[in-house]
Each structure stands twice: as C-alpha cells, then as structure tokens.
Amino acid sequence: MADDILIRQIAGIVTSGTPIVLAALGETLAERAGVINLGVDGTLLLSAVSAFITALAVQKGLSGHMDAGLVTLIAALAGSLVAMLVGVIESLVVTISSIELKQSQVAIGFVLTLLGRDLAIFLGTPYRSQGGIPVLFLPIPLLKDIPLLGPILFQHDLFTYLSLITLIVMWFWIFRTKPGLTLRSVGERPATAFARGANVNRIRYIYTAIGGALIGLGGAAYTLSVNSTWDENAVGGNGWIALAIVIFGGWQPLRVVIGVYLVAALRVLVTSVQSSFDPALVGLMNAAPWLLMIITLFLVSGSYLERLLKILPRSVHPALRALLRSKPPAALGTPFEQG
C-alpha cells in the first residue's frame, strides 16, 4: 500500500513537472542557437491563459453539436495551438529585436516577461473562478499495466507524453543529426557555422520560434491538464525555474529534464511533509531547489571544475564533461554580423 502511494507520488511528480519540462526544453533549444529568451515566465502565463480562454470558447461553441469527448479534444487542440502561437510570437519579438533592431536580448526578454504576465492577469481576470475542460487522461493500453513504470510513465495525458517525446526527439536531433551539429556550432562559434554554409540568423529565428512554441505548449499544459483552471499563482514563477534549470542542466536536454523532475520532486516532498514540520522550516525547505542550484553552479562555474578535471585521467573527461559541464554556448546572447 505504501508502495502504491509512492508510485502515485512519483507519477504526480511527472505530471506536475510536464509544463516546466516543455518550457525548459524549449528554452534549451533557443539558447543552443545562441538566443536567450528571458520572457519565459510571462509567455508561460500568457499562453496558459490563452489556451484556457480558447478551449472554453471552443467548448461552448461546439457543445451540443457533437460528441462530448470529441468536443473536449477539439477544444484542447485549439487551446494548445493558440498557446503555441503565443509562444512563437513572443520569441519572434525577441529575435527580431535582437537581430534586426540590435536591442539587448536581456532587456527585451525582461520586459516581455512582465508584459506577458500583466496581459495574462488582465485577460484572465473574468475567468478566475471558472472550471475548465476536463483533463485529457490518456493511459496507454498494455504499457500502463507494467508494474512500476506503467503508472509512472504511461498513465498520463497527451502533454506528458509529448514532453517525453520532445525530450527524445530533441536529444536525438541535437546530438545525432547533422542539422543538430549545425545548431550547436551556431551557438558556439557562429563564424564557423557561417563558413560551413549555415545561415546563422535564419537558424536563430527558427530554433527560437520552435522553442517558443514549446514554451507555449507548456503553458497550455497548465490550464488544460495539470490544473484545469486559471490560477496565475500556480503558473507564475515556473518560467524562471525553467530558465534556471536550463543553466543548471548545462544546456543538455536529458540533464535539464532530470533537473526539472528533481525540483518537482523536492516540491512534492515538501508538500507532503510540511504538516509535520515547523512552518518556518517548511518555508526554508521550499527554498531548497534554489539553494541547491546556486551552490552547484557556484562550485561548477568557478575554477573548481577545471581543477578537478586536471587531476583526473583523460579517459574520465568525456563522461565528467557530460555530467557536470555548465558552460553556456559561447555565443549566447551575442549578435552575429552575417557577411
């Protein structure tokens, strides 16, 4: 019985982590191309509320005309598409401002995150107390019955499956394909990418837009799945966490996702034990993920990692690098003058 609770909790971690996984993976993609999109939090909120409003509107418009299940599906689809569109638009503002207008990516991103948040609150006010569409619970037949892994991985909704698929596809794309090599070179040394025939700025536009779409999808996951209501306090702040985890995860999709689940697990842990602890301590425990990230980054980014690498034999280097390396793509945030 205790096992059951544990398994359900782990499944809960996966569920609650899904939106952040999507957002963090999206931001990883953009930053791999050299673009920092600080607007993640605002976009998450804005796309979440957009998905919610759209889905409700579609549901209201279609209900009665067709099967309820189908209506829900279409509403969710519409909501997700709108959310992704919001993400794409936001990312385009960042890239256009940076590439064409030579503005600071950090400045634009910062303003966009506030604007996104404010817009979301404004648009969402009338919807605060409304219920949303029912969660699209989609357990996968057969796989869901596998002991242990079944409930954890295969009894979720479409968003979670999408997030895991995105992880696999992204990992494969970045590390196993030729276009992935080009992507990495654009973020590391655009001059080389350009010399090899890549259109650096166009690549930045495209990948940042895809990243934006993923962030938007993450927002949709909040209001169409995780909560099925609009609550800006549940959504807000997670974009910043996603940004931090991209850094913490060393811009590697697998590490990033593990980082997200780690943070989600810490949160679940705190929630489940908080009743037995002094409320003051609970407050500090909530800070644990951030403190962990700060300390880790401090140790890794200072010269401590380099010193460690010098001591160890060369054969260990690739493994250690993959595990601990936290260097940003060298060209992150820099404009590239093409031609």
Binding site: R176, T177, K178, P179, L181, T182, R184, S185, E188, R189, A191, T192, A193, F194, A195, R196, G197, A198, H317, P318, R321, K327, A330, G339
Partner: protein, 487 residues
C-alpha cells in the same frame, strides 16, 4: 587546376587594401604571398576564399570566371582556407567538426567519415584522434584537422594563413611534408600567406610579394632572401637624426623572465633598461614582443623570473599596483583597450585624475583643454571619444599618460597615423625621455624602430635578440632577423 586573379581591387573607405592585383596560380605548385603587416595579404585571401567580394576584378578558375558569395560556396568550388585561428567548434569532437557542413542527409554517416578521416590523416602523416574534443587539441593539431577536413571536401586549393605561428619545429616539419605531398604528388595549389622567410625558403616554389596593396614582385624559388626582403620592406633608408641622450641609472631590470600566452612560451629573457633609454621591440605579430610588454605591465602572469623596478621586485604586483609605481601602459587597440567609447574627452581626463571623491569638472575641462591645445587634438572636451579620428585618439591616449613616469610601455604608438602625426607623437615621447622616462615600445614599422631606438630587441618565435648598436644596422639586416634567420 588553373586560377587567374585579374585586377582584384578592394577598398575600405579611403584605404585601398588591394590595388589591381593579378596572379596566376597553377596546380602542383606551392606559392607564398609575402608582405608586411598591412600589405593587403589577408584581404586578398579573404576575397579568394569567399569571405568578401572584390570591388572590381575577377577570379577565373579553369577558364571560368566565378564569383563566390560565401566561404562555403568557395569550398564547393574547391578553394579552402586555413585561418590562423582555425575555424572550428571547440566543443565538438574532431569527427563532428569534419562532419559539420557536409552536404546530404539528416543522419551523419559517422563510419564513412571516420574512415575517410583516418585515411586522409595517415596519407599526410598526421595522427589524429577522431573522438578527441577540439578544445583539448593544440593549434598544430587543430590545423591538421582543418586540413584533413578541407581535403575531404575535395579542396583543390589550400590557403594557409600564418600557419607556423605557435607550432613546434617537429609539427612544422610534419605540416610542410604534407603540403609538399599535396602539391607535388596530388596536384593541389597551396598558398602560404606568411612573413616568415625561413618557411618560404623551405617550402615554396614561387613567391608573390605584396606591399601597400600591390604586387611588387614575383619570383621563383630559390631566390636570394635579401632580394625578397628588399621587395617586402622597400628601400627606404631614411636618414635619421637620433638625439643622443645621456642615460641614467638602470630603471627596469628583467631577469630570466618567462612568459606564456596562448600561442607560445617566451624564452628566458634578461634585459636592463636605463632611465631615458628607448628600447624598440621588433618582430612579426605573435613573436612574443607583445607578451613581453604586457608581462612588464602586469597583464600577463610570469612563469618564472623577476622584474625589478629601481631594484624593487615588482613581479608580484598587479597591473593597478604597477600603475601606482610609475609604470604606464598603452595598448595598441585604442578603443578596445584604452579609451572608452561613450565617454567624452573631458571624462577621460577626469577618470585618470582621481583626487578626492568629487569630480572637479572645471578642472577636468581645463585639463582637457590644455591637452587639446598642447597636443593639437582636433576635438572639444565634450566630444565623445569615438568621434575622433584615430590620430586624435592616439593623441588623447598619450595626453592621458601621467607625468612624470619611470617606465612607459607602448604598443604601436603610431599605428594608423599619418606621417605628420607620427612624427609629432615621437617628439612628445622624446620629450618624456629627456625627462628621464624609460621607453619600451613595439612597432611593426621598421623605420620607426630604427629611427628612435637606442637599442632594439628583435623577437622571433619567442626568442629575443638584442641589438646594441642599431646605428650601423640596415633595414635589410633587421628584416632578416625578423624573418627568423639569425644574421
């Protein structure tokens, strides 16, 4: 393969970097493009390798005139360039670097690429580890990777820009052997862009010499080196009036100094500089003179050895601490490392004169005005520094130097200046010298070195040769030393 460059011309504003340059390049030959810094070599090669279009003129490959619109385009036509800092991606492996940019398909064919890599490398006598990461390789190894890569993409022309700076003798031999093989056995065109006469002698079949944007000579090797030097540096033996000055006590004492920068390690250097003495450091870019100068300034760490200022050991002192000891340093990059774009002239004067917490703007303005008048700077105290011409910026930089100074370290004090401004700058520097300041400067202009130095330090590949009596040295002899051949 047969390439003709016909009347290639390229201008940057008022500067004519390439002036109607024409060249013939035949397969199976190794060419050298020789010239001083600023002669126009890199511009020409950038045009040939597709980085820049020429203003006028054309490139004809095998009777077909071709215009490249990108470096990748040029490589598709068989022209590949190995840069001085090879264009690779540090975080990728050797194998991945070679795969990057290959046409075709979503999935890289790692096996084929690996086999091709190993085969080509073996053919050239390189030993490469395909899975090593680029940022763990030496410059020589990175060059090898790039050459292998270019060849695997069917480059028929290899342009190498200063490839031998920062690689060891053994690595150089390997490189040259492979280049000879590529040209003479495999029929490629190899172009070596260099100033190193020793290398040109060892490697090349034909030489083109550039000076101030034009071809001034085309020779077949072997050819007397002196002749090449004359072509490179020109025949200006300007009569110089060197003011003999009495030298004071030893101010700077460098003992067994070893410095390391990204490219090379300087040999142990020992030097004594007296008050009022002017030491000129000559040598080609990357030979160590800049590293030495910066080490004296405290910007580069020293591996071993000592630096003494008036018998006081300043080796452990930081750059800022040395500023307080009466040492000043002026970098060559005026705007990148010296002046701050966005600040006005007066603000610069305020910045270097910190007396008290408050800025006395009236005083700063006055100081700026005084400097403008004295140094004949064409600007106002309120002019943003980036709006000044290079010459005027240099004047401001000099004006900002404190007075009096014990030691003044200058990188290329007259770079980019017209003759009149340069002469004027030196009159100011000589005034300081008359007051007892010791000067160490480096310059790419040989006549400047010869005209003003009491002693000359010639740097070549990290080693300094001290010339105590430059009065009896000719430009040719100096050029030879610089080229790396001991006199």
């Amino acid at each position: 393969m047969h390439i003709e460059l016909e009347h290639i011309t390229k201008r940057f504003g008022a500067l004519c970097a390439n002036n109607a340059i024409s060249m013939t390049l035949e397969g199976g030959q190794i060419y050298a493009v020789l010239g001083e810094n600023g002669a126009g070599k890199s511009t020409l090669m950038k045009i040939l390798s597709g980085y820049q279009p020429a203003d006028t003129g054309r490139i004809v490959i095998d009777q077909q005139p071709i215009a490249f619109n990108s470096p990748a385009d040029a490589l598709a036509h068989g022209i590949g360039m190995l840069h001085q800092d090879p264009l690779d991606v540090p975080t990728l492996s050797v194998l991945d670097n070679c795969i990057l940019g290959l046409p075709g398909g979503l999935l890289p064919d790692r096996r084929t690429a690996r086999a091709a890599l190993i085969k080509t490398a073996a053919h050239l006598g390189f030993s490469l580890r395909p899975d090593a990461f680029i940022d763990s390789l030496t410059i020589a190894e990175r060059q090898q990777v790039e050459i292998v890569r270019l060849l695997s993409q069917n480059a028929r022309v290899l342009i190498l820009d200063e490839p031998t700076t920062g690689i060891s003798e053994v690595q150089k031999d390997t490189l040259f052997r492979s280049l000879k093989q590529l040209a003479h056995d495999d029929g490629l065109i190899v172009i070596l862009v260099s100033h190193k006469l020793e290398d040109v002698e060892k490697l090349c079949d034909q030489v083109y010499v550039l000076r101030t944007g034009q071809i001034v000579g085309q020779e077949r090797m072997p050819c007397p080196v002196v002749h090449l030097i004359t072509l490179m540096f020109g025949q200006h033996l300007e009569p110089t009036t060197r003011i003999a000055a009495a030298h004071g006590e030893v101010i700077l004492s460098v003992r067994n100094l070893q410095v390391k920068d990204e490219r090379l390690t300087l040999d142990a250097l020992t030097l004594d500089v007296r008050a009022g003495e002017v030491i000129g450091l000559a040598g080609l870019d990357g030979s160590g003179q800049q590293a030495f100068l910066r080490a004296c300034a405290g910007l580069y760490p020293t591996l071993q050895g000592q630096i003494l200022l008036e018998n006081r050991d300043i080796t452990p002192l930081s750059y800022h601490e040395r500023l307080h000891c009466g040492i000043s340093y002026a970098s060559a990059g005026r705007l990148e490392e010296g002046l701050t774009a966005g600040l006005t002239v007066a603000e610069h004067f305020a910045l270097v004169a910190p007396k008290g917490a408050r800025v006395d703007w009236a005083q700063a303005d006055q100081a700026a005005q005084a400097a403008i008048a004295h140094y004949k700077i064409k600007a106002q105290p309120t002019s943003p520094i980036e709006t000044l011409s290079g010459g005027n910026q240099q004047r401001v930089l000099l004006a900002l130097l404190p007075n009096p100074l014990k030691l003044l370290l200058l990188e290329s004090p007259t770079r980019g200046l017209d003759v009149e401004s340069a002469r004027w700058v030196w009159s100011q520097l000589l005034e300081r010298r008359a007051q007892g300041t010791a000067l160490i400067f480096l310059s790419a202009e040989l006549d400047e070195i010869v005209a003003y130095s009491d002693r000359i330090g010639v740097f070549s590949n990290g080693r300094m040769t001290l010339i105590d009596d430059p009065a009896h040295m000719s430009i040719e002899q100096l050029g030879t030393l610089i080229g790396g051949k001991t006199a």
